[in-house]
Subunit: 393 residues, 2 copies
C-alpha cells in the first residue's frame, strides 16, 4: 500500500469536488482510499508500483476532467426549507447495527428489524394518502428489467456505473452440479459459473416499468397518475453506506403521465403536499434543485440540461443537528417527453406524453425520522403513531 | 434441428415423470424442446450431430437416473380439499396479456396493471390479518443475500439450478465507459463486462434473512412470529410461464421461531386459518403434502426426508374447471433445527430453536382468484371488495 498525490491545478470548486468524490469510487480497482481537497486528491493504492500509478493517474485525470473541464455548476434553487425546533436528535449518534435495529446482510444491504420495518410501513401508508389525492392507481413492477428497455431510456449511457445485472448458471446439468459441489473459489468469491452472461438487469427505478406498460397507448385523460412500490438496485461501490446508501432499497413512486401543463402542475402539487408532510413529520429538511448522478462522460451536459429545464428537485433531510450531513429522502422529477417518445405514449392532445415522478426512498425517510426524533415511537410525531395492523415493536 | 428419442426402460412412474419434466429444463442448452412419456423422452435438439446427441443423452441419463433409481415416491397426504360450486371460472380462458392486464417485461417477469396490482394488495392485507393473529412483527428484508448466508443454509447444494446472481461492472472508469458505449454484443446479448464475478445472490425466499437477523440470539418466548413481504427470485429456465411461474415474484411469509411443539402448533393453526380463508375466497383448492424442487443429486434423499418428517404442505388452487391444472399458491413449512443450528438461535428451553414458515406467492394467489372468479371485481367474493386507499381499477 502506498499513498500517491494527484495535484489539481487550478483548484477544484466545491461542486466539482463533490462530483469527483462520488465518481472516484468507480475509477480504478487499485484505489483503496481517496481524499479530495481543492488542491489535490490523495489516493491510497494497493501497490507502490510506479507503472500502476501511471495507469491510475490517467484514470483519475479522466474522472476529474469529466466533471471539471468547461463545467459551470448550475445555480441552486431552494423551494422550501424547514428548521423545526422540535427534533430531539436523540437518534443522531446511534449506531443502528450495534443497537440491534438492523443487521448487515452483505455489502450494501441490510435486514431491518421490527422498529424500522414498522416505521417504513407507516411512512408508506402516509405516502399512499398522497397517491390517493391524485387518484393514483397501483401497478406492480418486477425487480428485474429487460436490458432492451433500459437501453431504450438511455440508462446504459447515463448511469452505467451503478447497474446490477442478474445472471444464472448455464442450463446444463454438468455445470450446475459442478457449481453445486464447489460454489466458491479459494479466495471466497463465487465460482465463475455464477456469472454466465447477464440475462436481465435489476431495475434502478420502478417507473420505467410503468412507461413500458403504457407502451403504444393513447391516454384518456390529460393527467393519469399511478403508484408503485418496488425494490431498486444501484451498485455504488465504495459509496455504499448503511441505510444512507443501499445497493438494494425500497422506493415508493407516484408517477404522472399526460399533457405538459398537467404533469408540471402535478409535480408542483406533490411538492406542496410533501411540504405539508414535512411539517407534520417535524423534519428539519429542504426541497432544492438537484441533478442525477450521471457518469463521467455524460455529467456536464446532462447536469446543465436538467438544471436549465428545472427537471429535478430533491427533498433532503438533515441527519445530525449540526447540519453537516443531509440525505435525499425523495425527489420530484419531470422527464419532458423522454419516456413518452421512447414508449410512444400519446397525450389526449395528440402530442407525445410528458411524464414526471415523485419518488421516496423509504429506508432513507425512516432513517431521517430516527435520527431526528429518536428510536422510541413515544418521541415520534403524532402522524406516525397511528395504528397499523402489524405490530412495530 | 432434429428429434431424438431417449428410451425409458422400465417405464417411468407418474411421480418420476413429473420430477424429470421439471429438471430436464436444466439438463443441456442443446435441448430446445422435450416431451416426457412413460416409455420415452422425445427431445428436439439444435443439431443433428450424433456426437452432440451422445453428450446430451448422457446428461438426460444423469437427470433421469437422479430422479428414478431407488426412488420410492412418498405417499401423498391430503389435509383439506374444497370443491366450491361458486366459481364462475370466467377468467379461466383469458390471456391476461392480450386483455391488457399484464405486460411481459422480459423472460419470466411481468408488469401487473391496476386490476391485478390492486388484487395483490387486497390479498396481502388479508394475509396481514393472519400475521396479526400470531402477533407477528414486521421485518424488512433486502432482495440481495450474501452467498455465505445461502451457503450456510445449504441452498447451493439443494437448489443450485434456480439461483440468480447479482453482478456489476468492474470499478474501473475505462471498463465502465467501454460498456456504456457498447452494452450489447452482435447477437443482442449483454457484453461480458456485465458479468463480473457475482458479488451477491438474489434471495430465493425471504425468511433466510430473518434467521440471519436472529443469529446468535436466545428467544424470549416459546414462539416468536414475524412477517415479511419481499421479492424472491427463482430462475426456472424453460419452466418459466406467465404469472404461474415467475423468475421474480412477491412472497408474503409468516415465520415462526421457537420450541418444537410451539412451531408445529403454529404451522397447524396457520393451516386452519388458510382453510377458513379458502372458504371465504370460495376457491377450489386443497392443502396436501409436497416436496421442494431439489436438484438431481439431492432429490431422492431430501424428498423422502421431507415426507418422512411431514415437513411441507402446499396450498394448491385449480386454474381451470377441468382441474387439469393447479398451482401452489402457498406453503406450510417446518425446518426442524436446520436454521436454528445454522444461525445458533436458542429456544427458551436451551434447545436449538425450531423454525417454520407459512408463505404465499401473491401473484399466484391473485391469478387463482382471477381464473376462478373472473376479471371483474363485481364477481369476486365479498372479502375482496373491502375498500383500499389506492384504487384498483
Amino acid at each position: 500500500m502506498m499513498e500517491w498525490i494527484f495535484a489539481c491545478s487550478p483548484p477544484l470548486s466545491a461542486p466539482v469536488q463533490k462530483a469527483a468524490r462520488y465518481r472516484l469510487h468507480f475509477c480504478s480497482p487499485e484505489i483503496i482510499r481517496f481524499q479530495v481537497s481543492p488542491d489535490a486528491i490523495r489516493l491510497t493504492l494497493s501497490t507502490d508500483d510506479e507503472s500502476v500509478w501511471h495507469e491510475v493517474s490517467r484514470k483519475v485525470e479522466r474522472v476529474v476532467s469529466g466533471v471539471r473541464d468547461g463545467f459551470v455548476p448550475p445555480e441552486e434553487r431552494l423551494y422550501m426549507e424547514r428548521r423545526h425546533p422540535s427534533p430531539a436528535w436523540s437518534g443522531a449518534g446511534v449506531n443502528l447495527e450495534q443497537a440491534g435495529l438492523i443487521k448487515k446482510a452483505g455489502e450494501g444491504f441490510y435486514v431491518t428489524g421490527p422498529l424500522i420495518a414498522g416505521l417504513v410501513e407507516r411512512l408508506d401508508r402516509i405516502l399512499l394518502d398522497m397517491a390517493d389525492v391524485f387518484g393514483a392507481r397501483a401497478v406492480g413492477t418486477p425487480a428485474l428489467i429487460a436490458p432492451e428497455v433500459l437501453s431504450r431510456v438511455d440508462y446504459f449511457r447515463a448511469f452505467p456505473h451503478s447497474l446490477t445485472f442478474a445472471c444464472h448458471l448455464p442450463r446444463d446439468v454438468d455445470e450446475i452440479e459442478a457449481f453445486s459441489k464447489q460454489p466458491f473459489e479459494a479466495d471466497g468469491s463465487l465460482a465463475p459459473a455464477a456469472s454466465g452472461a447477464g440475462a436481465a438487469v435489476l431495475s434502478p427505478a420502478v417507473c420505467f416499468h410503468l412507461y413500458h406498460f403504457l407502451e403504444g397507448t393513447s391516454l384518456g385523460q390529460a393527467l393519469e397518475s399511478y403508484t408503485v412500490r418496488g425494490r431498486c438496485f444501484r451498485y455504488e461501490a465504495g459509496a455504499l453506506a448503511g441505510l444512507e446508501r443501499l445497493w438494494d432499497f425500497t422506493m415508493r413512486e407516484i408517477v404522472f403521465v399526460g399533457e405538459q401543463a398537467d404533469v408540471m402542475d402535478a409535480r408542483k402539487r406533490s411538492m406542496e403536499w410533501v411540504t405539508d408532510l414535512a411539517d407534520r413529520l417535524g423534519l428539519v429538511c429542504r426541497i432544492e434543485s438537484a441533478a442525477d448522478p450521471f457518469f463521467v462522460g455524460e455529467f456536464k451536459q446532462r447536469t446543465v440540461f436538467q438544471a436549465a429545464f428545472d427537471l429535478k428537485y430533491e427533498w433532503r433531510a438533515d441527519l445530525d443537528p449540526a447540519a453537516a450531513d443531509d440525505l435525499a429522502v425523495g425527489s420530484f422529477n419531470v422527464h419532458q417527453t423522454h419516456f413518452g417518445k421512447a414508449f410512444r405514449i400519446a397525450a389526449p392532445s395528440g402530442e407525445m406524453a410528458w411524464t414526471g415522478c415523485t419518488a421516496f426512498g423509504l429506508e432513507r425517510l425512516a432513517l431521517a425520522v430516527l435520527r431526528q426524533h429518536g428510536l422510541s415511537p413515544d418521541g415520534w410525531p403524532e402522524i406516525l403513531k397511528s395504528d397499523l395492523s402489524v405490530s412495530i415493536e
